[in-house]
Symmetry: C2
């Protein structure tokens, strides 16, 4: 390391903002600034749009919301005595809106950077709202230079990061709100390692944490050194403050040009140098956070994502209690385990709703499952209600008690009972459907599809099993009743029913779905990969035909690289 | 008009494409080419993405879909013997996708234009998919020049239209897929008139027609002369072929530059001149279509939009029958009128589901309503079913038969019965909720919110009344039973209930909603416009709180400038 380096104590403030809660988010930001200042930090950086939460969606079209951002960011600036602060907010002028980061110090707003690269794919719609920035900021600490940019900016390569490095920046500060999907941290590490090595600089990456509707932000902020090593990391799926001392090589005192180019942009960008005072620290602090890379087992990672997503959806929407229809099957058992971890057993109520087709095993398994997790379960049989429907409807529809009509009716009676409990108690119904079912439409609209939030919406059935087995092993106790893991999946809507009567084995189904839904693999290619043509055709046809059902499903947590919903925008009316 | 003008017989082929139905759309396109050729046309132009339908959404991420576009557009080109054809399709190269228009003649593909201005606001997500084009096409007929561009291209001003005119184009051909909302035709006329006058050219505008999920394309293709007069127009809400003879002034034979600029674009665009043979016609044809502007009454316009949207959703999804829960109220009555107009009385089944709270008036009105429109109505009382629910649930929830729980339960029993009929018969349930209810959440999830398609989803209650009164007047017969129009709205879920017990008068509610939802007017401004602060606050709070319900509502027809759904993307979790 350069002997003439500039000492810098940096704090990455990985906070959990709530969309629209400017007052609450401000309080978190001010408290984090105080903590960072007390820890002797020169600079504290917050995630992308930390002040208003991410993504604010069409709130960004609302003038009051833009005004509130402008008002509250001033309070952040005013709180920056003795420390440099970088904080994401929505910038706006008369007719334009920006994804901005404030740079403030000593109570003053010094500069506002606006994001250049605006993602407009997958779950992102940033070009709907934001005007891209056209400036390259360089933050000057003593004789050292740092480049500030926002989220997607660092994913585009070559891009603004490379321009900043070529202008002398030896530290890149990236503030992000990067949504979670499985193994996303590894993708980010690969990316940041590349950028650090390519540009011979440290990269400090601060990511948002928390659940927002269908998205999880997983935190896992980190610092990578110029050799490409992760030298410090914050917790995943929790708030954290990562404090680290860095020595940034100073840059030769050459004149910094007034403009510079950014790859793929025709016009040159203005270069803005922001001089900061709080440039050094007396002595080294011990690092906070863990050092280096830590990889959670996949099942652990996904379980934590589900817990965070469920807790935040419930609590940020002002609820505290949930109700779950326990069936004695694995989906409702895992949903229960997530809910109990997220909210505590006292906040989770279980209802078991047997019919004539419900086995004794289902009852004993459901009851034991509730008991394993310390929850109350009440039993409300549906047969009497079902019989009266049949009696009332049979004169009109003689075959009411047969086939799909009968099966759907049972599921809908259960849905009604859960909703009645919700109405009476104020508890949110947690939906228990998994992604495999939703994909092929093996669900009943207004029946097992009811709910305020769908915990397993993006979890394929095989992963439901994997997480369940993992929990029992890793927790050294029976989290999911073993008899539930052991039994073959069944909807129990007719006698001796098994999912495998209607669907391919889940190992086959889930892999075809992954190829078709997540990777857009063509039918012929899936067949070439070794799946039976008939099965592939049938699965694809089922996925297409179920689009209308998915449109009416509750929101749920994105976990895979492509979830149903705004991540995959298929028309309902579609003959292709 | 220039004496040395070039004669041109033009056909604007306003077809109703189905998304993804390349085979069916191709058949329509080939038939229209034949008709245009037989009529002696020099050129036939089809709407934006006519070959694959609009909007294809994430089908555009699917390689098979892109290949199919490439394959089928060749068949269009091959069919262009003796006539020039312009047809929208999805163009693609290795890693890029374009919103393209083919120019073909005499069996050969001559040129492909790619749209420059990609809308990414409101219901549009074009930047998610398309790379903008970078060429300015000029079509040369004899010595006359025409500029071709696509939809949004002509809305941006100055833009490519102005560049084309400055290069000598005296006719602008714009191919569109422009979604309907109320009074949209007038907006388009104002726009096209401005572009024609500003650029001293004719503008020929061909728009898609048909329903696609929540969007209606209303057709109403037209030709505007350089004086800004609409000289010919096609039907609205129906397929039509508009044939018109134009005399286009020839352009001095100056050298056309190889590149030219387009406003707001840094780089110059390549200019492409496409020489066409079929440049003249011997004698004048009589114009098809109507001449000049024709304004439908608003209620007529909206009714036709609803009819087209309903028919296309049902038929394009392969259904033929629908079922409607008639209540004796105005929403279900108007939904029935739309359905009967769209599908015929024989395809529409009505179910009346009285409870203890249902008045005699509701029964007689519903029955007469069905009879007025020639439909069958069956009556299925819900009391017995309701009573059994109460009996079974009361031990668990003593207050089950009171308040909202009781009201929602009744609505959900009705929902179940409609769905059971749908399961048995294959008919789609038409939802009857209006926009005012959906806005404030005055609806029951899985109850009156059930359905495959929501006809009145974007129709405020006051407009429901207006259309109903209009139908009776304009049709000179009772389309909507007068006693239904006359009675005060009620949900009849408890004794002597009226909507006005829970909601402000609909005249007040709808205007606040229009200001808040459609125009993003701030609360303080709405108050300044003369509404009671308490009422405004309450309405806004209700709209925010109901977002979670709207996410699970069936798709329905966009009619206002801003519908709920992808037109208004609010977060559920939101504390602002």
């Amino acid at each position: 390391m350069d002997k003439s380096g500039q000492q810098l104590r940096l704090c990455l403030a990985q906070i959990n903002s709530t969309v629209g809660d400017l007052e609450g988010n401000l309080a978190k930001i001010l408290a984090a600034i105080d903590t960072a200042r007390t820890s002797g930090c020169s600079l504290v950086a917050f995630p992308e749009l930390a002040l208003c939460g991410y993504p604010p969606e069409d709130l960004l079209l609302n003038k009051s919301f833009l005004k509130a951002n402008a008002k509250y960011i001033k309070k952040v600036a005013a709180h920056s005595q003795g420390i440099a602060v970088i904080c994401g907010f929505v910038g706006s002028s008369a007719d334009r809106v920006f994804n901005s980061a404030l740079v403030a110090e000593d109570g003053k707003a010094l500069y506002t950077y606006s994001k250049v690269a605006l993602p407009n794919y997958g779950v992102f719609d940033e070009k709907r709202y934001f005007t891209p920035g056209s400036e390259i900021p360089l933050l000057k600490f003593g004789e050292a230079l740092a480049g500030l940019n926002i989220c997607e900016d660092i994913w585009i390569c070559p891009g603004i990061t490379e321009s900043q490095a070529s202008l002398g920046a030896r530290l890149i500060l990236n503030t992000s709100a990067s949504p979670y999907h499985m193994r996303r941290v590894e993708e980010r590490i690969d990316l940041l390692r590349d950028r650090a090595q390519r540009n011979n600089c440290h990269v400090a990456y601060v990511n948002l944490v928390g659940g927002q509707d269908e998205l999880i932000f997983d935190g896992a902020s980190m610092v990578v050194n110029p050799a490409g090593k992760v030298i410090a990391g914050a917790e995943a799926f929790a708030e954290d403050m990562l404090v680290i001392d860095l020595e940034i090589p100073t840059t030769a005192a050459e004149e910094i040009p007034a403009t510079a180019s950014v790859a793929d942009h025709e016009e040159p960008f203005r270069v803005k140098v922001v001089n900061l005072n709080s440039s050094g620290v007396a002595e080294k602090a011990s690092k906070a956070g863990h050092s280096g890379e830590r990889q959670l087992p996949l099942a652990e990672e996904v379980f934590r994502a589900l817990v965070l997503g469920t807790r935040d959806y419930i609590q940020k929407n002002g609820f505290s209690n949930v109700v779950i229809g326990l069936s004695g099957g694995i989906d409702s058992a895992l949903t229960l385990a997530v809910a109990v971890e997220a909210l505590g057993a006292d906040s989770v109520h279980c209802i078991f709703m047997p019919s004539q087709f419900t086995s004794e095993l289902s009852f004993t398994a459901a009851e034991r499952q509730a008991r394993l997790l310390g929850c109350r379960m009440e039993t409300i049989p549906i047969d009497e209600i079902y019989n009266v429907y049949v009696r009332e409807l049979k004169p009109h529809y003689p075959r009411i008690a047969t086939g799909l009509t009968s099966e759907n009716l049972q599921a809908r009676i259960r849905g009604n009972i859960l909703m009645a409990y919700s109405n009476r108690s104020g508890a949110i119904v947690l939906n228990t459907s998994n992604k495999s079912e939703a994909a092929v439409g093996y669900t009943t609209l207004y029946g097992d599809m009811v709910g305020g939030f769908a915990v397993l919406k993006d979890i394929p059935k095989t992963l439901v099993f994997e997480i369940s087995r993992y929990l029992n092993k890793s927790r050294s106790r029976e989290v999911i009743a073993e008899e539930i893991i052991a039994r073959p999946p069944t909807a129990e809507l007719k006698a001796d029913q098994a999912d495998s009567d209607s669907l391919p084995p889940y190992e086959v189904l889930d892999e075809i779905l992954r190829l078709y839904v997540e990777l857009d693999t063509e039918e012929a290619e899936i067949v070439r990969l070794g799946f039976e043509r008939k099965t592939v055709k049938r699965v694809i046809a089922m996925v297409r035909a179920a689009e209308y059902k998915r449109r009416q499903s509750p929101p749920g947590i994105k976990v895979t690289p492509r979830a149903f919903g705004r991540d995959r925008r298929w028309p309902i009316t579609n003959r292709f």
